[in-house]
């Protein structure tokens, strides 16, 4: 009988999520005025649904595994996963501080590295051109504010 640790963990995760939703729901007020249908009624239903579905998944996971799942045979590459994740974290940290263009360039270079490209200089140049293009397009043409950050003196007062 097939039994997958990941399936069991995910199924339990769903149950835990349901319990957490139920816990928060318990703190919501129940008075809803006229019909007495407060803001906690639907959340309670959703929490119950998630818990039931989670338990069902747990049952399936322990009795032969989730039904009709296509088996994946590809090999997981942790390095690639970490580069892509790191790219998004670096971007998150940089955007408000160093600005959209620098954050976008770093994001571009890191993601490309995650997909196996080591041509750092070329990727940095491409990322810079793309981010600059998007920056000017959004800030000048669409009037959407994007942070200029460290490049504010160079970017000519555009952005915030």
């Amino acid at each position: 009988m097939r039994r997958s640790g990941a399936e069991i963990a995910l199924s339990i995760g769903v149950v835990v999520l349901g319990v957490a939703v139920a816990g928060v729901t318990a703190t919501l007020p129940s008075e809803g005025g006229y019909a007495r249908i407060g803001p906690n009624v639907i959340p309670a239903g959703v929490a119950a649904g998630i818990i039931v579905l989670g338990l069902w998944l747990v049952y399936e996971a322990f009795t032969g595994g989730w039904r009709k799942r296509t088996e994946q045979t590809e090999v997981f590459e942790p390095g690639a996963f970490l580069w892509v994740s790191g790219a998004l974290f670096a971007h998150m940290a940089l955007i408000g501080w160093a600005g959209f263009v620098i954050a976008g360039t770093v994001l571009f270079v890191f993601i490309a590295r995650g997909f196996g490209s080591r041509r750092w200089a070329r990727n940095a140049a491409l990322g810079l051109v793309l981010s600059l293009g998007i920056f000017y397009f959004f800030v000048k043409l669409l009037n959407v504010n994007l942070p200029a950050g460290w490049l504010a003196p160079v970017l000519g007062g555009a952005g915030i």
Binding site: E7, L10, L17, V21, V24, L28, G32, Y34, A35, R36, I37, P39, I42, P43, V46, G49, I50, L53, W56, L57, E60, W66, R67, K68, R69, T70, Q72, E74, V75, F76, E77, P78, A80, F81, V84, S85, L88, M92, I95, G96, G104, L107, F108, I111, A112, G114, F115, G116, S117, N123, L126, G127, L130, S131, I134, F138, L142, V144, L146, P147
Partner: protein
């Protein structure tokens, strides 16, 4: 002929030069992004949403109609030339389309796909024009109880019909319903599940969820599992013109596929997946050239492609007339409406007749633009396909993060984007469909409002859902959909055991 005069004034809106331009830009951008491998129509629409923030609603929605159609066509181009169906609706096309391309007949395959999409799209838009006023009249009689029952019906069909497992479909739906609860409760002003984070007061934005699931999740998945897989792009050699026999074999397939695709699009069955396969099976059965199936039969491309477009138009019937999205892409389109404070549904046909009929008229125009633009530009689309994976995903993510960041200029939205990316990665890996989550996020809050309104009217008496005949019918069908397959499976197991 009320519909006809409404449509004519709609054309007056759609044919204004500025709106025509938005249509052109939408089709071109939609095709460009839709061609990118791994980018399906839902992601295309979600990624291009930020571009319209400063447009007036009519222009923005006309542009979106163009993006929607362009994304569909772009996806088929990728499928035919690359054999990596970006979404389930393209799998049927891949069966024959890629074989045709391998046999040096990429041109006619792309042509039958483009012309078939135009024929099916135009017929389906005519059907939409005729059907919409009828559904609107019917929907005006719906009260909150009927709406709620209809939404429950839509929830269950989109999560149990699609995908391989009802439990996993429903899990995805409930995840979406939960995310839909986050934010300020529209009825009482109570903040729910916001944990004191100001960015969460507006609720979870559909763009952040869709882009997280589809773009970030896909990037994580492809990088971690498939970055070494290389693909071969088939060349477009020779003429793209279809021969006389190609035409003769394509015509009936287009028409049959429209008849299959449109009705399936209008019911909440998740859009294009089922009709494309049904059309493929039909053509395989009726063909006079059964020996060619599996080796590149043109009917096998013409049918599914036309069915796909007819269904994509059919999806707009419940979206526009009832405000109910039945596919992930439609849910994102509904989010675009909501950004302008517009709620699609029967009332919108009355309060914003110009906008709605302008949008419907622009569907006719969009189909035509697609036909005129795409075949001549096929060389450009092939170039787009040649962008290597590393640069492709890097570029997609620069754009994807922009959409999330521009909501509140806050890194919190980017953090949410990454969390949804992890979720998308896990869902892809463990075969949990993502569509129901996106639909749940958008439709959940609407269903809750109708539920509470219905109970307010009935003074808290829950029997209102089963004493109203329309509501009771929807709920009965829903219950049957959930219970019957379960009993059938149980019985057949007992008989075997």
């Amino acid at each position: 002929m009320e519909a006809l005069s409404a449509l004519l004034s709609g054309f007056g809106v759609a044919l204004q030069p500025i709106n025509l331009m938005w249509g052109f830009i939408g089709v071109t951008l939609g095709t460009f992004v839709g061609v990118l491998p791994g980018v399906g129509p839902a992601l295309t629409v979600a990624m291009l949403l930020p571009l319209t923030v400063r447009l007036d609603p009519t222009g923005a929605l006309i542009m979106f109609a163009g993006i929607y159609y362009g994304a569909m066509f772009g996806g088929s181009t990728t499928t035919i030339l690359l054999n990596t169906p970006g979404e389930s609706a393209s799998i049927a096309t891949a069966l024959e389309g890629n074989r045709m391309a391998k046999a040096g007949r990429a041109g006619p395959a792309l042509a039958t796909s483009a012309i078939g999409s135009f024929v099916a799209g135009t017929i389906a838009t005519i059907l939409l024009t005729l059907l919409a006023p009828i559904v609107v009249d019917l929907a005006l009689k719906f009260g909150p109880a009927e709406y709620f029952a209809l939404m429950v019906f839509a929830f269950i069909t989109v999560s149990s019909v699609l995908g391989s497992s009802t439990v996993r479909g429903l899990t995805s739906l409930f995840l979406g319903l939960f995310l839909g609860l986050v934010g300020i409760d529209s009825q009482t002003g109570q903040a729910r599940f916001t944990f004191g984070v100001p960015e969460l007061l507006d609720g979870v934005d559909v763009v952040v969820l869709a882009v997280g699931l589809f773009a970030v999740g896909e990037a994580l998945y492809v990088a971690a599992y498939q970055s070494r897989v290389s693909e071969t792009i088939e060349k477009v050699r020779g003429s793209i013109m279809m021969s006389a026999s190609d035409w003769k074999r394509s015509w009936p397939a287009w028409l049959r596929a429209t008849a299959i695709g449109f009705p399936f699009g209008t019911i909440p069955a998740g859009g294009s997946e089922i009709p494309t396969f049904l059309s493929y099976a039909t053509e395989k059965k009726l063909t006079r050239h059964p020996e060619e199936f599996g080796k590149g039969a043109i009917e096998g491309v013409a049918g599914p492609e036309a069915a796909n477009n007819a269904a994509a138009t059919g999806v707009l019937v419940p979206l526009l007339t009832l405000g109910i999205p039945t596919s992930a892409t439609a849910a994102i389109l509904l989010g675009a409406f909501q950004n302008y404070g517009l709620q699609p549904g029967p009332l919108l046909f009355q309060s914003q007749a110009n906008l709605v009929w302008g949008l419907i008229a622009s569907l006719y125009v969009g189909n035509l633009i697609l036909l005129v633009l795409n075949l001549p530009l096929i060389g450009i689309w092939v170039k787009v396909l040649e962008i290597p994976k590393d640069l492709l995903y890097a570029g997609i993510l620069v754009f994807a993060t922009l959409g999330a960041y521009s909501l509140h200029q806050s890194w919190v939205d980017l953090a949410m984007l990454y969390v949804f990316g992890l979720l998308g990665f896990a869902m892809r890996r463990w075969d949990i469909p993502v569509g129901p989550a996106v639909i749940g996020l958008i439709l959940g809050p609407l269903a809750e409002t109708q539920f509470r309104r219905a109970l307010a009217i009935s003074q808290g008496d829950p029997s209102v859902f089963i004493t109203h005949p329309i509501s009771a019918t929807f709920l009965a069908i829903t219950a049957a959909l959930l219970v019957v397959p379960f009993i059938v499976r149980h019985r057949s197991r007992r008989r075997r055991g």
